[in-house]
């Protein structure tokens, strides 16, 4: 109860501060109430959802500012189909306009440069500072480039792409595949788990192989995985590779990439022989995004952010809530866009409750569904349900729930696209 009383007191301070600012600014903002100020950093699945639901569930009383450097939202889910050539960038791009127009979220197109935890301010790259009562960080992942020294050479990262943040690299990787002569090799390297989107690399292998099977039948896909085996939907992917892409996809587990020579197109491993390929697609080891890392929030292994699962509040910093791929995950919880959207709603509900002096929901309960395309039409899924366990103070999967597809199907392909339309609208419209 102390926690709640503390928050109620601060809430009163915050609301008087907000109304003073509102007067000074001539009350120009849309629907800004007296319920406090929340700054959301990062407009991906987690941050966009948190911003929208904070406005919805506070009935406009909380002033919400979303800081996002990109002009529009570009979805990582479905982006492998752009690389495979069956979808275009426009198909995976959604405007941020509805968050502003329909929900009154203030959108600041800038990059968050630093957080002052004591002053409760976010400093933007453009120089401005944004004060907050509560901060939501949805920073995604950044790459641990030190693990791959050769990619520190000038120009190396322009030639060897990750395309693991949907955007310009998605298009650039597609161009590299189009430019590759038939008979060439595309190699994708996978870091040790955990990394963003466990099944994503295997789906990408399917998409590139699908393209090769139609356009460049003498070409090969090499999957070089640091893990002991396929980390998600293993039997379903292996069946797709055997049935659909025999002779095109070769899977090699226990291949931990330790360096890359971009000039010669060579991959180096800790125990295996070097591999050369015409198109290298290297997924470096990942950690929480720089903004969270630099603020000292990556308390798990210096890579991931630990949170209280009832509120998504950081264990390292008060009044800061962290979402999505940046988290030290709970058991069997994937780093997925779907999960980040769920985190955004948990954080939004908790912040609305805390700023109004109420206890947050003691039993968060949500699900994950993840679809992977094994061709341009056929899809497999994995699903799970996660609930809070008060004794263990973490999220656990509900016994007997969840599972995977029995086989790839076109019907699930239709549901996968319906999922995409719905989650894009749920997060952004």
């Amino acid at each position: 109860m102390n926690h709640v009383q503390f928050n109620r007191r601060r809430f009163i301070q915050a609301s008087s501060a907000a109304s003073v600012l509102g007067l000074a600014a001539g009350c120009a903002s849309t629907g800004a109430g007296s319920g406090g100020k929340v700054v959301v950093v990062g407009g991906g699945y987690g941050g966009a959802t948190a911003a929208k639901y904070l406005r919805l569930w506070s009935e406009g009383r909380i002033e919400v500012t979303l800081v996002e450097p990109n002009e529009a939202f570009i979805s990582c889910p479905i982006s492998n189909l752009v690389i495979g050539g069956s979808r275009q960038m426009a198909d995976i791009t959604t405007s941020y306009d509805n968050l502003a127009k329909r929900h009154g979220v203030k959108i600041v197109r800038d990059r968050a440069a630093a957080i002052d935890l004591d002053k409760r301010q976010v400093r933007l790259a453009g120089g401005a500072t944004l004060p907050y009562d509560r901060l939501v960080l949805s920073p995604g992942v950044d790459f641990m480039w030190d693990a791959l020294p050769g990619l520190g050479k000038p120009g190396a990262r322009d030639k060897v792409l990750h395309a693991w943040k949907a955007g310009p690299q998605t298009v650039a990787l597609r161009r590299q595949l189009e430019a590759m002569p038939d008979g060439g090799v595309y190699a994708i390297t996978i870091p040790l788990a955990p990394y963003r989107c466990p099944p994503g690399p295997y789906e990408r292998a399917c998409q590139v192989a699908h393209y090769f099977s139609k356009a460049k039948p003498k070409s090969k896909v090499l999957v070089l995985d640091a893990n002991d085996d396929v980390t998600s939907k293993g039997p379903l992917f292996k069946k797709a590779w055997a049935d659909r892409y025999k002779g095109i996809i070769e899977y090699r587990p226990k291949h931990n990439t330790v360096d890359v020579d971009a000039a010669t197109g060579t991959l180096k491993f800790d125990f295996n022989d070097d591999v050369k390929a015409q198109v290298l697609n290297v997924l470096p080891p990942m950690r929480a995004g720089d903004i969270a890392h630099n603020a000292g929030l990556t308390t798990a292994n210096k890579r991931w952010c630990e949170v209280d699962w009832l509120t998504m509040e950081s264990k390292a910093a008060k009044n800061v809530h962290v979402l999505g791929d940046a988290l030290q995950i709970a058991p069997a919880m994937p780093k997925s866009g779907h999960m980040a959207n769920q985190h955004g709603k948990v954080a939004a509900a908790a912040i609305v409750a805390l700023l109004a002096g109420r206890e947050p929901n003691p039993l968060p309960l949500y699900n994950n569904t993840c679809y992977s395309f094994v061709s341009d039409t056929d899809v497999v899924h994995v699903a799970s349900v996660h609930r809070y366990d008060a004794a263990q103070k973490t999220m656990v999967t509900v016994p007997g729930s969840g599972g995977v597809s029995t086989a790839a199907s076109e019907l699930e392909g239709q549901y996968a696209m319906a999922w995409a339309r719905n989650i894009w609208a749920d997060s952004l419209a």
């Binding site: 948990v346 309960l365 569904t369 899924h381 509900v398 007997g400 597809s405 549901y415 749920d426």
Partner: protein, 103 residues
């Protein structure tokens, strides 16, 4: 008796029990649980094309379907796996919340 009518009876009994229990359920908690369905079924159950809208649908019909998914009586690609993650009472409360939303 057909499996579907068994599920129907079970759903009706559950609804009666659920409405008695509903007074004790925090509506904001149910709203949060229901929001976890929005990823596929749309914000407040107002779905985009391709998935079933839930806003304003009949609570008893939604609950009957959910119980059939959970028992395996109704074929599904994914809902048979997800519905097993929720208690019967949670499903009844979530169905009730969607029934009360504007179509």
């Amino acid at each position: 008796m057909k499996p579907s009518s068994t599920a129907g009876l079970a759903a009706a009994a559950l609804l009666a029990a659920a409405s008695a229990a509903q007074a004790q359920t925090d509506p904001l908690q149910v709203r949060s649980w229901a929001a976890a369905c929005a990823n596929c079924h749309g914000t407040n159950g107002q779905a985009q094309a391709g998935n079933q809208p839930l806003a304003g649908a009949s609570q008893s019909e939604m609950l009957k379907k959910l119980m059939e998914f959970k028992s395996g009586a109704r074929p599904a690609t994914i809902m048979h796996q997800l519905s097993k993650g929720y208690t019967d009472e949670q499903l009844a409360a979530i169905a009730g919340w969607f029934a009360a939303q504007k179509k």
